[in-house]
Symmetry: C2
Subunit: 336 residues, 2 copies
Amino acid sequence: MTSAFGGFRTPAACVAMCWGVASAGAALADDPLPSWHEGPTKAALVDFARRAADPADPAYVPPGERVAVVDNDGTLWPENPLPFQLAFALDELARQAPAHPEWRDDPLAAAALRGDVAAVQRAGAAGLLQIVGLTHTGTTAEEFAERVRRWLAEARHPRYRQPYARCAYQPMVEVLELLRAHGFKNFIVSGGGADFMRVWTEAAYGIPPEQVVGSTARTRYELRDGRPVLVKTLEHLFVDDKEEKPSAIHQFIGRRPIACFGNSDGDLAMLQYTTVGNPRPAFGLIVRHTDAQREYQYDARPASTGKLVEALREAPQRGWAVVDMQRDWRRIFAWE
Amino acid sequence: MTSAFGGFRTPAACVAMCWGVASAGAALADDPLPSWHEGPTKAALVDFARRAADPADPAYVPPGERVAVVDNDGTLWPENPLPFQLAFALDELARQAPAHPEWRDDPLAAAALRGDVAAVQRAGAAGLLQIVGLTHTGTTAEEFAERVRRWLAEARHPRYRQPYARCAYQPMVEVLELLRAHGFKNFIVSGGGADFMRVWTEAAYGIPPEQVVGSTARTRYELRDGRPVLVKTLEHLFVDDKEEKPSAIHQFIGRRPIACFGNSDGDLAMLQYTTVGNPRPAFGLIVRHTDAQREYQYDARPASTGKLVEALREAPQRGWAVVDMQRDWRRIFAWE
């Protein structure tokens, strides 16, 4: 190792860094996935990561190709009682309403402002977009990020009484860390808004903004008082779900992943794209919401946003691991 | 240098970093930019990179925010006598023509097939898109990448008699390496097609596919004989030029860059977005094509694809460095 450090002006820095890594390595040697119960899924995860990073193993994959894609809502954090971004949009609607008396003439906005969340849910994707259109557009990208930051600091999940960004599933955070420790680059590939997610994914999951692929719309470049700003619009809307997920992976990442994590039929296409006919060894995993006590139980309900029917049916033939939250996860949240 | 390494969590990254920095460090001690003549531009480049990575310096920038964006055509490689992707598209048109007798009824395709390249150029962006539409769409993403690979292996630049991918500007390759050695993440932000560029940018510039932002169109996900494929279309076309460049940086990267390199008015907006009112110390640079002997001299010609009028006018007030290729570059290509 001596000559490897020859170029350092401050060898102490390098030693300090190597200590950091050594202690991380020691933690991994104990148990890289302490929030998982022992079992075939945990074993398969550890095995896959280790073999992909071991040049002597036939399942080795060169570092650049170690790309993992992970859904967010329902896979890395809950999507109940409402998808968190919808909760944000409704809170924003209420916060901004005093400046927008005209919203009272909009039946959906008026219903939402009366607290009739069911009406918004009944309106489906179109309803969500309408609320998002009212609350998220016309602002600059910087202002919007600031609003998300403020909301994250103030809002609490109605059941867990925790800030939303602290509701990450701890077992999945450990999977992301396991993959990173084995040279993987982790990308979120989610139907959520990229501008919404990028504010907090690094703190919550260790995933930096440039590794977040989500739903997007065009921003408009302007010089305002001589300063460049990007104004959010709903033009060229791209909803990153279902068959659009592989398309987004190609457009934003430009590599075929070798690991994919999802929880609903919205992830079926990217699970297929990752694992079926991939010349590299590939891994697929589905999180099933089976734990009404600690989280929510809803996956097989066809009307649910997290509908999981087709992907679950395909899982055995494709060799995808299926996580039963109740059975496989020792704890669900870091604060438990 | 200590905290410059603080963000590295993984052993693999640490080892790679130690080796990379050690060997790069030795090279840097000699001269990080050997293909540049001494002068204020070279000094400013080295100074900017070093200060951004030095925690003791007021111009220090945390590693995650050390994002550089670089135009491709005319900034990293030539765009003459034709933009290289147009040369590829015309070669593809000729190669595929025998299977497409109907192209003879298309005036533009027929002109191109007769070798009348000027007709294609006169048709401008619409003409280019028409040729691209004929030759690039309907194929799968994998097939398309294979075609680019074959073309790169076979085709030669008409003047330099070199494979196109060997026509990178060596001084700029050194700038990319200088930035990388100081913890920067380099992104291409180009009007060229992302699918075209991603095939060769890692070999030519050390920039991996996921750090290439370019023009894109939607791909359509299909299962063909049970295997997932992405079929190229021209739907939802996004042309990554001018005011769309900052918009694309926001959409694909989600961070404001602190360094920007361009060569034409097509890069003006992203130069502004990077440097004007940025709370971080930021660097802008324009490459001027002033060297008819070794490369091409064309930048101020208003009709040229590489038109450079407005950005050059703004450069002094914005503090952007302006490279005079003839005066500043000791050599232009690695094989000189």
